[in-house]
Symmetry: C2
Subunit: 335 residues, 2 copies
């Protein structure tokens, strides 16, 4: 079996959202493997700072995935696409479900069609554990019956997944779909730690928490997530269907073997910062409409291939706080 | 319980694709119930002839669902939407998957967003048994794990379904999703009977069949289908979730308790027409790339509410041939 570095060495690799939290880590890894990387990003949440030392070594295209002509031209000669760009700020999707649909579903269709027109045959896609909504089985495995989408975000990602399935089957592509839990770590730009850090910086004696603090969530350190993605790409030939045949689409949950209450996460943050705020809760079991109060993924499929995460949720939370502490500019320009 | 006629009497009802095969039958029924009907159709496959005697009694808007401004304005004051318009010519989707995506998925998003902006809270959606792809269980029940989409058509409809789920949950809508088998009967405009009739009219001694003739499919007469839809709308309060609570989204398979081989269907057609063609097969177990060779839906959910179809598949096939025979103009202008 060729190593993962051999797979990507000297290859033309296209990364949508390559200037973002997740995408920029993938870019770093690809450069390490000797790939020739093209980043396509509209910089709606991406930052040039995240590309940092990678910047001189990549081709950077500043444009939107809804610009079909530019996207299609840009994908000439590519051999692999990491489709990471997304509207991932879940809690705001209620306000503009159409934006979420265009940025997550239509953009994915555009990527797939550009791949088809350019003969690009491999895609890795950043999906989400939110597609399970309130899983009928928890921890939730990949092949559970998915009954209902309750948020535009989960729906827009699920729609992206089914489009990828159809293109893979119809046009002989090979796909890897990764359903992430919430990701933490360096270059984190939005989410509860971001919100809490901002509040505590303004006033370390008070903290307002949406919901009741008992939302039970899973988190994964970005370094572990990227490790898992490349591990899966290297080892997925062993992920076969029930008849023992290779799959056109490999779907992997990525997460830690633990979940934590929002209140636990708050205690990790406040104890790291050395503050003891009075906490007030907005109430209800959800942080926002469409929030899923218990997300915990069964990661047996990738664990059985041999991967497991290195960081605990507590370590991931603390690393995130440290990153914000050392990079306060993300607060000023973040969402 | 109010009767279904009471539910729709004097109500403003919006029917997308209301000039098409399925939509026009729904329009007829709604007029019978005393509804005030607005048909929104781009006449890509719809026909004024299908509206026939209904035409003077409806508001007809000739436009495309991708015209968001027109669609949104048109939905003012509506209380119920039948979203029936679709690109349903499955066998051609391979050639233009983007068109299929826009006409089935983006159009559905546009309908949902227009409903949200106009405060319309009820939708009935024409989906398809194709969303099950090659079901892991046959006959296939509604709550099976759906593993993979292999065609742009199935994917585009599945994507439409998940968008409806999210809007229903997030914006307090009530949805009915109907997963049809292939429909037959009056106003039928495309499909295998159409193709065979055309061939046999040109030369009754020869018939070319795509695949091996052993594709195993299910069919439902349009009259039974429309009966089932209104029956479900009248009785779905009894379709509750596992905890006994009402559902935001009711999903119903609609089909007959039998399936038939393509060769059986051919024998119904040729014996009705009194011809004995030499049949040549193009070979393979599928009619086209992405064709699902065995579709058979488990309709227990709606049967348990008390509905069952009246026509057999054979009767539905014969009625379709009779319709084409008596309305040959559909051949000339059909696809």
């Amino acid at each position: 079996m060729a190593s993962i570095a051999d797979k990507f060495a000297h290859k033309e690799v296209f990364v949508t959202g390559g200037a973002g939290f997740v995408g920029s880590h993938i870019v770093d890894r690809l450069l390490l493997y000797g790939a020739r990387v093209t980043v396509y990003d509209n910089f709606s949440t991406g930052r040039e700072e995240f590309l940092g030392s990678a910047l001189p070594h990549i081709t950077l295209i500043r444009d939107d995935l809804l610009n079909v002509e530019k996207l299609t031209r840009s994908m000439l000669n590519m051999s692999f696409v990491f489709h990471i760009a997304a509207n991932a700020d879940i809690s705001k999707n209620e306000l503009d479900p159409t934006k979420c649909f265009y940025q997550n579903t239509v953009a994915t269709q555009n990527v797939l069609e550009a791949m088809r027109l350019n003969g690009v045959r491999e895609i890795a896609f950043a999906s989400t554990g939110s597609v399970y909504d309130e899983g009928s089985v928890v921890p939730t495995p990949e092949d559970v019956h998915i009954g209902m989408q309750s948020s535009p975000y989960g729906a827009s990602k699920m729609a992206g997944e089914v489009l990828i399935q159809a293109y893979s089957s119809m046009f002989d592509m090979q796909a890897h779909i990764f359903r992430f839990v919430s990701l933490l770590g360096k270059r984190y730009t939005h989410g509860h730690i971001f919100d809490f850090y901002k509040q505590l910086r303004a006033d370390p004696t008070r903290l307002t928490v949406r919901g009741n603090g008992k939302q039970n969530k899973s988190y994964l350190l970005i370094d572990d997530c990227v490790d898992a993605m490349f591990f899966a790409l290297e080892n997925s030939s062993r992920d076969v269907d029930a008849a023992g045949n290779p799959k056109k689409v490999h779907t992997f949950n990525l997460g830690t073997p633990e979940s934590c209450l929002l209140n636990d996460s708050i205690s990790y943050i406040t104890s790291h910062l050395g503050v003891s705020p009075v906490i007030s809760y907005t109430g209800g079991d959800r942080g926002w409409k469409g929030d899923v109060p218990f997300i915990f993924l069964d990661t047996k499929r990738i664990n059985d291939l041999g991967w497991k995460p290195r960081a605990t949720i507590r370590e991931a939370v603390v690393e995130t706080v440290k990153f914000i502490d050392e990079n306060r500019w993300v607060l000023e320009r973040g969402k």
